[in-house]
């Protein structure tokens, strides 16, 4: 670097830090800043109360396969009769000389034990915990033990379709057929909570709420007060003023978002389900939420600040944009990667980053959703309450395992048709470019603005 450019850089640096520092200190002295930040933290903590409630309340245990019920009234629950080879529908057929088991023994007796699901095209998983598939007896034949025809008795075959990117579950009967609602539900609700709070709460709401109140007036307030004169009477272009003011804005908003995400990650990490004392597996998702919120708040901040320069009532334009973005947020959440309209928004790209974070850190997310939908196979996912146990209480209620629906709702794929890391780079770049374009347009507007006050 020549001496000349070095000096130019030093001057630029001095001006940049001077305005950014000034802006930061200005925020610090305003009550409104602290109100906005406290309200944000308060809202998040309020949501955490709901989460805490979910995590501390035991979910209702369903008898998915209905075998805790004593249909024939002989005093033995169906599960016990099946295991011992008597007819569960015949009052006269019961295991003699055996003490009847309590019904509760046949609720959640055969939970999921699927670990290490990979995206191989075919896998054999599952274990028949209660032995109602592996048992020998007149009620079950070898062919019945291998319904899915993969030549492995009493297992679950999982196919991953690379084409449609979904898991297809094909099971032998009575394997993992009575999953633990509480265990699954807490896991699913925990993840659904992170995704929903991350996407709608932090990336969308905070991403728009913070800039709406902190960035809209960044230049406009000073223009109205006439205090902008002090800055513009200096040898500094208006484009620079806009840029450095934004730096000051980011100086308060970014640390806040980082802090809030750390707090949320700690709370959900310690309270969340799981054997370990802390859920390290979620951290990467929180990083993606934090990163997305930072980028989104930068883009909105720049746009809202420019709206403020453009028009005294820039807040009106900001709110109109916020409404469009809310629509796009829902489109993005509802349709996932299946729609391209979200590409014409800021939030669409922001949420994409969260989806990528989830895909990278929770590789089992699609299979978890599939498991919730399959919910043990009773009654069959597609055929409603057709099964012979349909009189059993609450079978039909348990169409899906608890937590499946919210998880399915808030989980999406990025839909860019490229790998996760590449998609992350694309989405981040798009957001940075959006902010840059907003600055280019904004400084042109600012430069042509006649300052009457």
């Amino acid at each position: 670097m020549s001496e000349e450019t070095e000096r130019a850089w030093a001057k630029l640096d001095r001006k940049a830090t001077a305005i950014a520092e000034f802006t930061l200190r200005q925020y610090r002295t305003r009550l409104s800043t602290w109100v906005v930040l406290s309200v944000s933290v308060g809202a998040m903590m309020l949501l955490n109360l709901f989460y805490l409630d979910f995590m501390t309340t035991e979910l209702r245990m369903n008898d998915n396969d209905g075998d805790s019920h004593d249909y024939d009234g002989d005093g033995y629950p169906t599960g016990q009769e099946i295991l011992l080879g008597t007819d569960p529908f015949n009052e006269l057929s019961y295991p003699e000389g055996v003490t009847p088991d309590p019904a509760s023994k046949y609720i959640n007796e055969d939970d999921f034990d699927w670990d290490n699901i990979t995206k191989d095209s075919f896998q054999s998983i599952g274990y028949d915990d209660d032995g109602d598939c592996t048992r020998d007896g007149q009620l079950i034949t070898d062919s019945q033990k291998d319904n899915n025809g993969n030549l492995i008795p009493c297992d679950i075959a999982v196919y991953y379709s690379n084409f449609s990117q979904v898991y297809i579950i094909s099971t032998d009967g009575n394997v993992d057929e009575d999953p633990n609602e509480d265990k699954f539900g807490k896991e699913a609700i925990h993840r659904a909570y992170i995704l929903s709070v991350g996407k709608m709460g932090i990336v969308y709401l905070l991403g728009i709420f913070l800039p709406l109140f902190l960035a809209s007036g960044l230049v406009r307030n000073e223009m109205n007060d006439g205090t902008m004169h002090f800055m513009l009477a200096k040898p500094i272009s208006r484009g620079e003023v806009l840029l450095y003011r934004m730096l000051g804005y980011l100086g308060i908003v970014w640390p806040f978002i980082i802090g809030l995400c750390i707090l949320m990650a700690l709370i959900t990490g310690f309270l969340g389900p799981g054997e370990g004392f802390f859920r390290f597996s979620d951290l990467g998702v929180w990083v993606s939420i934090c990163f997305a919120a930072m980028l989104v708040s930068m883009v909105y901040g720049m746009i809202f600040c420019v709206f403020g320069i453009l028009w005294k009532q820039g807040m009106v334009l900001a709110i109109i944009l916020a409404a469009w973005e809310l629509g796009m947020a829902f489109v993005s959440v509802l349709a996932g990667g299946d729609t391209y309209i979200q590409w014409f928004s800021v939030i669409g790209w922001g949420l994409m980053i969260v989806d990528i974070g989830a895909a990278l850190n929770w590789q089992d997310l699609p299979i978890l959703i599939e498991m919730g939908n399959w919910h043990g196979g009773y009654p069959s996912e597609n055929s409603g309450c057709y099964y012979q146990f349909n009189e059993a209480y609450d079978i039909c209620e348990s169409e899906k395992l608890p937590g499946t629906e919210p998880l399915e709702f808030f989980a999406s794929t990025h839909g860019l048709g490229v790998g996760n890391w590449l998609a992350a780079i694309v989405a981040s770049s798009v957001l940075v470019i959006q902010a840059f374009l907003a600055w280019v347009i904004g400084q042109a507007i600012f430069k042509s603005k006649e300052m009457e006050v």
Binding site: K11, R14, K15, E21, F22, K234
Partner: protein, 329 residues
């Protein structure tokens, strides 16, 4: 329309130049329109060196003129050059300019030293350089002892001086002050006037606007009079003053016993009439304003009158304007 004054001040015709041989401020047929309304019409001016007072009533176009100089608004027609550059397109002239805006609003939460330091850094100074400079200019405007206090706690006059300090921090060749004396108490006025005069003595080009003739009179002789957006006169204030002193004048005095004061004043030869419109007010008419104005204090002190307020200085500019425009409104 423009009377021929003896021009001892510097104006368009006697363009003095700065070191780079370009007049500091040049207006060439500048006009500014807001829809149908003309804020400035066909202003041509060149100013370099010394203190120049920009006089005009409210709405005469003083602020518009300054906004154009400071690159806040773009002229509708004509050309403006600051050190040879167009300030609307190029910020570089502001490295050599200091501006004291009219607005009362300041960053009240900052201390004086913080405020001046922060904006000094926008001139490209380091933190340390800026701080040293800030201390220097705050001492120059006599605020050294309070510079660590918040601006919000300052009196109007102190605030004005902080603004002036902030404008001086880059050691500018051109200083523009928009109504710097407005709302200040007499003590602050005197101190600010001293600062402005001092700057003029240091060879800076100073533009200072006011609608009060007596204020400008105490600062400089070189004036520009604006009226309804037009350049009414450029030149030496004394020439105008002499003409004006022959003109009937009113002095309003608010005092405790107007009748007693009236008795004392009517004895002065130059006083034409005295009237008492209210029970604590006295209006003196004279054709020799200067003489009466000089005699007034001694009479008040000698006869122990309780006087709260003397004259409405607006009348003075008003009468100049009436004189210059031949009594047209």
């Amino acid at each position: 329309m423009m009377p021929d004054f003896t021009q001892t001040g510097k104006s368009e015709d006697t363009t003095s130049t700065t070191k780079d041989n370009v007049p500091v401020v040049v207006f060439k047929n500048v006009s500014k329109q807001y829809g149908q309304i003309s804020a400035l019409t066909d202003i041509s001016l060149a100013i370099s060196g010394g203190v120049t007072g920009i006089l005009g009533m409210n709405g005469a176009g003083k602020s518009t003129l300054f906004k154009i100089i400071m690159g806040k608004i773009r002229p509708s027609g004509g050309q403006i050059r600051l050190f040879g550059e167009d300030p609307w397109k190029n910020q570089s002239p502001y490295a050599r300019t200091g501006f004291v805006p009219e607005h009362e609003k300041m960053h009240d939460w900052m201390t004086a030293i913080d405020f001046v330091t922060t904006f000094a850094r926008l001139n490209g100074m380091t933190r340390e350089e800026a701080r040293l400079e800030a201390e220097r200019v705050l001492t120059f405007v006599e605020l050294a002892d309070v510079m660590h206090k918040q601006i919000g706690r300052f009196s109007k006059g102190m605030r004005q001086r902080v603004k002036i300090a902030h404008a001086l921090v880059n050691d500018p060749d051109l200083i523009v002050l928009d109504e710097p004396l407005q709302g200040c108490d007499p003590l602050a006025r005197t101190s600010i006037m001293n600062v402005i005069r001092e700057l003029g003595r240091l060879g800076r080009t100073v533009l200072v606007s006011s609608h009060i003739l007596s204020e400008i009179e105490r600062i400089t002789e070189q004036i520009v009079i604006l009226h309804k957006g037009r350049l009414l006169a450029i030149g030496n204030l004394h020439a105008i003053r002499d003409l004006l002193d022959q003109h009937p004048h009113k002095i309003a005095i608010r005092c405790e016993q107007p009748k007693r004061l009236a008795k004392d004043l009517i004895d002065i030869d130059e006083v034409t009439t005295v009237s008492i419109p209210a029970k604590d007010e006295l209006i003196v008419e004279t054709k020799h304003f200067g003489v009466v104005h000089n005699l007034l204090p001694s009479i008040i002190v000698k006869n122990n009158h309780h006087v709260w307020e003397i004259d409405n200085p607006d009348d003075n500019l008003q009468s100049i304007l009436e004189y210059l425009t031949g009594g047209l409104p």
